[in-house]
């Protein structure tokens, strides 16, 4: 069989991202919006669809939606309304979802994302507010429903079909997540299902203009799964078209809804589009339309926090952080805020960033805690970096101090250094000179290499000296003396 040329094809992907908002109460009732409690404890008459109950809109959810709209520079609808979407399922307490059908609160806008070093702009079609369903739990002989999640506010963000690879999709979703985190609209906890993705995927020959039939993969809940799912579906479609070049593409690939099977690592058909339900949308008569005034929108705009891409710009341009470090830092909101706090007392942003995202992250990653939760204060890390900067300790010693900080998180790192004689750097040049002389006498060959122009030999000699002094000598001083002696 002929080899399939995947490069001839262009995937066309649209993402629908459901984001749970972190409001105190649910979208239409005063029940707490909280994950992980005993089943059916965070419920009211509204969450269980009791006869006579009525929804009352949570203003906080509207505010968060507006914040998001402003963050992606979208049009904020001055008038939007809710609609009923009818379908029967036990997790739906009224057997209709309250969503926004034809007048969503957010229209347009775009998400700026970094895809492997390139900045891309992904246009957004719309975003609307709706309520989440409960959760079905299956037991051996019966099923139960937990309505704790029923009524949790969601924003559904619908992209334009502007995404052309699995990597693009992940970058888009990551940037979206980051915005939601920084405007404090969502906790974005993936394990708790705060973020769920549906992808509409089709492929076409790069020379084609129109769209071919698309399929939808529903309910992916991690970036990794989404990447795998999209990747495998793109390949499947290209294979299908390539292997049947003479068949009508419309008949070959029927539109439908799929899920991604993690075991088989492939998409599995749930139902074809023609079998899809008729949701019978109509305006929700129990709620009044959302009418937003200019002054309200201006007020929300005025209080909008610094957004991830603005932060990225500041970090790379003003603080001089490398792009990759800035991105790593920003992707971890807790760490980023910790960094900002430490920066207030720290002399070097770049070193501080490194110490946080490499050294400290490595030391605590297995604990599942943040540095703050660990009990290490931001200024304590700042002091550590400052001690390196002003030559009080060497980088090598700093690593040992960091180890000690993990053991005694509340202890000031300056006291740790003061109290441990091993952490006192060699200050007098005479003893350093003696060590250098010893190394030079034992490494005649390296001296010869150095003189022959091999720079590596110099680094080797420095290394030997540092080893001998157990890292306690300042590398700058060692460097200075060694250079002098080799002249």
């Amino acid at each position: 069989m002929k080899e399939i040329d995947y490069d001839l094809w262009e995937p066309v992907i649209g993402l629908e991202v459901h984001v749970q908002l972190n409001t105190k109460s649910k979208l239409f009732s005063h029940a707490p919006n909280r994950f992980g409690d005993e089943p059916n404890t965070n419920i009211t008459d509204v969450c269980t669809g009791q006869p006579g109950s009525l929804p009352v809109l949570n203003k906080e959810a509207v505010k968060k939606a507006v914040q998001f709209g402003l963050a992606i520079k979208a049009n904020i609808s001055r008038f939007s309304k809710f609609d009923r979407k009818s379908y029967f399922y036990p997790d739906s307490p009224r057997n209709y979802q309250i969503t926004q059908f034809d007048h969503p609160i957010i229209l347009g806008g775009s998400i700026v994302a970094d895809v492997e070093g390139t900045t891309k702009i992904f246009p957004v079609n719309r975003a609307h507010i709706e309520d989440d369903a409960g959760m079905l739990k299956h037991f051996s002989t019966f099923a139960g429903v937990d309505y704790n999640r029923a009524g949790v506010p969601l924003i559904e963000v619908v992209s334009e079909p502007c995404i052309h690879s699995a990597k693009d999709a992940v970058a888009y979703a990551t940037a979206l997540k980051s915005i939601m985190e920084y405007i404090d609209a969502s906790d974005c906890n993936m394990e708790e299902g705060c973020l769920r993705f549906d992808a509409n995927i089709s492929v076409r020959l790069k020379t084609e203009k129109g769209f071919r039939n698309k399929i939808e993969i529903k309910n992916m809940n991690s970036f990794h799964n989404m990447e795998m799912a999209i990747e495998s579906e793109i390949k499947r479609q290209i294979r299908l078209y390539s292997e049947h070049p003479h068949e009508d593409p419309k008949k070959l690939l029927r539109s439908g809804t799929y899920r991604f099977d993690l075991e088989k690592k492939e998409t599995v058909l749930m139902r074809y589009k023609e079998e899809a339900e008729d949701y019978r949308y109509f305006p929700e008569p129990d709620l009044v339309p959302i009418v937003l005034t200019e002054s309200y929108i201006e007020q929300v705009k005025a209080h909008l926090p610094e957004l991830p891409h603005e932060r990225n710009k500041r970090y790379t341009e003003s603080l001089g952080l490398p792009q990759a470090s800035a991105a790593t830092l920003i992707n971890d909101k807790n760490m980023c805020f910790y960094f900002e706090e430490a920066l207030k007392t720290c002399k070097s942003a770049k070193n501080l960033c490194n110490w946080l995202i490499v050294e400290f992250t490595g030391r605590i990653k297995d604990s599942g805690k943040t540095l703050e939760q660990f009990g290490i204060k931001p200024e304590n890390v700042a002091h550590l970096v400052n001690m390196i900067e002003d030559g009080t300790i060497t980088g090598k010693i700093a690593k040992s101090v960091a180890d000690d900080m993990i053991v005694t998180p509340s202890k000031d790192c300056r006291d740790i250094v003061k109290e441990n004689p091993d952490y006192q750097p060699l200050q007098d040049t005479s003893s350093i000179e003696a060590l250098i002389d010893q190394v030079l006498s034992e490494n005649a060959q390296s001296i010869a290499d150095y003189k022959a122009g091999k720079t590596k030999a110099f680094a080797f000699l420095i290394g030997q000296v540092m080893k001998l002094c157990k890292g306690k000598a300042s590398p700058t001083i060692v460097n200075e003396i060694l250079t002098k002696k080799l002249q």
């Binding site: 006869p51 006579g52 009818s86 057997n95 008729d278």
Partner: protein
């Protein structure tokens, strides 16, 4: 005591001439004596009522101020929740459903020291115009026990007409308060949409539903309106401002110089008997100084069609929650999820409810929504516009409440004929306007007739005042059906 209005009863209680307990016992005795004939109640909360009465007597004795509804017995239509008691909506499906919260209106009544008696019969889920669609029993018209009391709030209307209690609450989606009020010779008021909180009213068609009272006098309606019109944060469509003092407004009510619009052209098809009665009412208005003007409301001919598209569409979604999963009666036959839905709804709902769910589902279905639902919404908007024009020429509109007086039980079998009952009442729901039915006399068979006064939105006060003026000049509502006009022995 049964001849007394709510206000008169309360005054006696406040003066100390009668105790709340006496009132409660009297009410329960009358219900015991007569309700076997009328069939207005589905559930009587006798213990609760007596307990409340005793508390109220103690409260009064201790010198505390009593509420504005003190010691007034009130019956509640059984589609309005009272916490910890059964709300059936006259449906088999909810036979076992215990409400988990109080409807706002019931809470307000409790706060003002009313004596809530229990729950009254209705057409299943308020769908009907005769109360014959109740899954439990037929309610009779106190003026002729072979006739229906109208519907859907037939139980609440019959209870007041038979003087089992002076006040009751009903709900009105297309005429369900006004038509039974006309049929039973009492006052029935549908307030402006949003005036009375719907929280706790089991929804039929949310954009049309409105709770309102039945009483023997307009003043009693004004009294209870003060209480049930309180602002409610649990209903987003509620008018979040306090109602005016309806009761004191009545004292200065006058029709002098008021322009009253009558859509004469639309009334041409009215039967001779009903037309004569209506014309007499018009003469009374004239004699009171009102200026009768002719208005064009021919758009009303579309009201039934528009109503049965919109109301059923909303109902199809509102009733979707009755699925046998969380509450209600789950079919014993069901062996899987699909069957739980299918059999529970098949066994739980009566034929008229099924008709309307099917119709509502159909008009919202893809391919039909534009032709039916959207079109009906457009006509509804047009109707609002036409009424606005009419109200620029007059301050109130006068019409009959119903084309015919009460009919015999079983007489109307064709649902479409039944739907025609609402021809004059539906418009007020579609435009969200306040409308009242006041007794306007009797036909040759001694069956009551009613006239309807409709006002612009939020003009509830003007509607009540006009009704009060008419009532004071006529007094048809004072007549009690003779069978029920006897004191019960204590």
């Amino acid at each position: 005591m049964h001849k007394l209005s709510a206000i008169e009863l309360k005054d006696l209680f406040v003066k100390g001439e009668i105790s709340a307990e006496q009132i409660a016992k009297h009410t329960l005795n009358r219900i015991e004596k007569y309700d076997a004939d009328v069939g207005s109640f589905l559930d009587i909360h006798a213990d609760k009522m007596l307990r409340k009465a005793k508390e109220l007597d103690a409260k009064k004795k201790s010198g505390q101020k009593v509420g504005s509804m003190a010691a007034i017995p009130v019956a509640i239509k059984d589609n309005i929740n009272i916490k910890d008691t059964i709300t059936t909506c006259a449906s088999k499906f909810l036979t076992n459903y215990k409400a988990v919260f109080d409807a706002s209106v019931c809470k307000f009544l409790e706060e003002e020291d009313a004596l809530i008696i229990g729950k009254t019969n209705l057409d299943e889920f308020a769908m009907g115009s005769s109360t014959e669609n109740s899954a439990f029993k037929k309610t009779k018209n106190p003026w002729n026990l072979t006739c229906t009391p109208g519907g859907s709030s037939g139980g609440s209307a019959a209870a007041v007409a038979a003087r089992l209690c002076p006040l009751s609450l009903g709900s009105d989606t297309g005429g369900s308060i006004r038509q039974p009020a006309a049929f039973t010779g009492i006052v029935g008021f549908k307030p402006t949409y949003g005036r009375v909180s719907r929280y706790g009213l089991v929804a039929f068609a949310s954009s049309l539903d409105q709770i309102g009272p039945f009483s023997t006098t307009v003043a009693d309606t004004a009294l209870i309106m003060q209480t049930i019109s309180k602002s409610c944060p649990y209903d987003s469509t509620n008018i979040h401002q306090d109602a005016p003092d309806y009761l004191s407004c009545l004292q200065t009510a006058s029709l002098k110089g008021k322009k009253i619009g009558v859509p004469w052209h639309f009334l041409e098809k009215l039967s001779e008997e009903s037309k004569n009665n209506f014309n007499q009412a018009v003469e009374v208005f004239k004699s009171l100084g009102a200026d009768i003007v002719n208005i064009d409301l021919d758009i009303l001919k579309y009201s039934i069609a528009v109503y049965y598209v919109l109301a059923t569409a909303e109902a199809s979604a509102n009733l979707a929650r009755f699925d046998g999963i969380r509450y209600g009666v789950r079919s014993q036959k069901a062996t899987n999820l699909e069957e739980v839905y299918e059999f529970s709804r098949q066994e739980g709902f009566g034929p008229e409810v099924k008709n309307r769910i099917l119709l509502g589902t159909y008009v919202l279905s893809s391919g039909f929504k534009d032709a039916y639902y959207k079109k009906a919404q457009q006509v509804r908007t047009l109707m609002v516009q036409k009424f606005k024009e009419a109200f620029s020429m007059c301050s109130l509109v006068l019409m009959p409440t119903s084309p015919i007086p009460a009919f015999t039980i079983g007489e109307i079998q064709d649902p479409l004929q039944m739907y025609l009952q609402d021809i004059y009442t539906i418009a007020a729901n579609l435009i969200g306007a306040p409308a009242i039915s006041v007794p306007s006399g009797f036909n040759k068979n001694n069956m009551p007739l009613g006239i309807q006064i409709i006002g612009p939105q939020l003009h509830d006060k003007e509607v009540l005042c006009a009704a009060h003026s008419y009532e004071q000049a006529t007094g048809h509502g004072k007549i009690i059906p003779s069978y029920f006009d006897n004191e019960v022995s204590k």
